[in-house]
């Protein structure tokens, strides 16, 4: 029999009334023992069934819903994407899927949702190597094989800059031009070519090979008395010229060419005229023009060459090309409309000045201004006679499609 200080019930204030015989089991008994002796645990035990309802919560489907938050974890992986070299959005997505699956099973331990997030960082590592595979995208250049994409990029540049007259006919002719250059292995021979489309300076300025508005892309910079229409750009022969920013010294001596497709026959006597070119103080010429006689004058990093053939016929495609060794007497040739006009030997000094259209860059100053309509021009690597013939046909076909051909 327990003695609560002489009482038969546990006192309300144990500090003042200490039970005489205390035992652990007695101390654990609830105060209710006083009123419900021997049955104080019943209500507690009877509460157990109520806890059964708790077991209903156990069907942690709810936590399963919490899996949704796992999605919240996904955005966490998004920053991981930011780390990704912007190029490969696709591979990054693949990686994101993988971790999501991993997260699902982890959600089972309902409580342990947090750890699930911990798994996310693991994804990061997985992403990184995936990016490494990105270079595989590099093969994109395969589109270069056709020339269609490049033609569309050029046309887009012309239109975006304010060029006009880009009809379906012009577009089709341009695509044919580009694809023909590619299929005939002439694309890689070009450093720059100017189709002269758009009917204004903003459109005509673009280099078809690299239609970017920058000097480095050999975009034309027009100066002085030029006029423009759907047939091309016309220089006034007084003060008009255009800088191509193409430096012959950027190519190899003995492997260079330049050309212009002119709309009119115009070879005035009196003083010399330069249709295209530059002249370096080192004695080198990179030019197609005429002297005052007038007779042809041309050079491809040479000391020049004159043809005694009389008055030049300037209408059509005039092209000078250097191929072969410096000692070959016929290593430099002048062509008109795909056929050779004359040839000369080659100097060993490469021209270091940028090439002008409508005049020539005379050691830094535009001079020998020339009046004609420029309908096309090219600059680049040396071409064989066969390649010149092919290029002539391709360019003239383009001009014919636009109704501005001369042969």
């Amino acid at each position: 029999m327990i003695n609560w200080g002489g009482k038969q019930w546990r006192p309300g204030n144990p500090n003042r009334r200490q039970p005489v015989n205390q035992s652990v089991s007695e101390l654990m008994k609830p105060l209710g023992e006083k009123f419900n002796r021997g049955n104080v645990w019943v209500p507690i035990i009877m509460d157990v069934p109520q806890e059964t309802s708790v077991s209903n919560i156990t069907p942690s489907p709810t936590p399963t819903n919490t899996v949704t938050p796992t999605n919240t974890g996904t955005p966490t992986s998004t920053p991981t994407n930011t780390q990704t070299p912007t190029n490969t959005g696709t591979p990054t997505q693949t990686a994101t899927n993988t971790p999501t699956n991993t997260g699902t099973p982890t959600s089972t331990p309902t409580n342990t949702q947090t750890p699930t997030n911990t798994g996310t960082p693991t994804q990061t590592a997985t992403n990184t190597p995936t990016n490494t595979g990105t270079p595989t995208n590099t093969p994109t250049p395969s589109s270069i094989a056709s020339g269609t994409t490049q033609a569309q990029a050029y046309l887009r540049a012309v239109v975006d800059a304010g060029g006009t007259g880009i009809t379906s006919t012009v577009s089709a002719a341009t695509i044919t031009l580009f694809t023909s250059l590619v299929s005939n292995n002439l694309w890689d021979k070009m450093s720059a070519f100017y189709p002269m489309l758009g009917g204004n300076s903003a459109g005509c300025k673009f280099n078809g090979k690299n239609p970017v508005d920058s000097n480095a892309a050999y975009r034309l910079s027009f100066t002085g008395g030029w006029t423009f229409n759907s047939s091309g750009a016309t220089s006034n022969g007084t003060n008009a010229y255009s800088n191509t920013f193409f430096y012959p010294s950027g190519t190899t001596l003995g492997n260079q060419h330049l050309s212009v497709y002119l709309g009119n026959n115009n070879a005035p006597s009196g003083s010399g005229k330069a249709y295209i070119g530059s002249s370096d103080s080192n004695g080198s010429y990179f030019v197609i023009g005429q002297d005052g006689a007038p007779e042809w004058f041309y050079g491809v990093s040479t000391n020049g060459g004159s043809s005694p053939g009389g008055t030049p016929s300037t209408q059509g495609l005039l092209l000078a090309s250097a191929t072969g060794s410096t000692s070959a007497s016929t290593s430099i040739a002048l062509y008109r409309n795909g056929s050779i006009v004359t040839n000369t030997n080659q100097n060993s000094v490469v021209d270091r000045l940028s090439v002008y259209l409508g005049a020539f860059n005379n050691d830094g100053t535009a001079s020998q201004f020339y009046n004609n309509q420029y309908r096309f021009s090219t600059l680049g690597l040396g071409l064989t006679a066969a390649q010149v013939s092919t290029l002539s046909t391709i360019i003239n076909t383009f001009q014919t499609s636009l109704g501005r051909n001369t042969y």
């Binding site: 800059a161 007084t238 010399g272 010429y285 020049g304 050691d363």
Partner: protein, 73 residues
């Protein structure tokens, strides 16, 4: 052929200026050391700040003495 005669200060004010998009003025000297621009530049000019060039008197074009071509180095 006619060209547009410029004073020294007018020439200076046009150097590096756009006639229209992607086309620049190019004042040059004629045979009498007069600064001139071409009528094409005047006709193509679209900017208000250059309206004054359209009221400048024209003179006959006298080409400068061109250096020999091919140039003599």
């Amino acid at each position: 052929m006619k060209v547009v005669l410029l004073t020294e200060s007018e020439k200076e004010s046009l150097i590096g200026q756009l006639i229209q998009s992607d086309l620049y003025f190019n004042p040059i000297l004629d045979c009498n050391d007069n600064w001139i621009i071409s009528t094409e530049e005047v006709n193509n000019s679209i900017y208000v700040e250059h309206e004054w060039i359209k009221s400048i008197p024209l003179i006959d074009w006298c080409p400068p003495i061109e250096p020999p071509f091919p140039p003599i180095k």
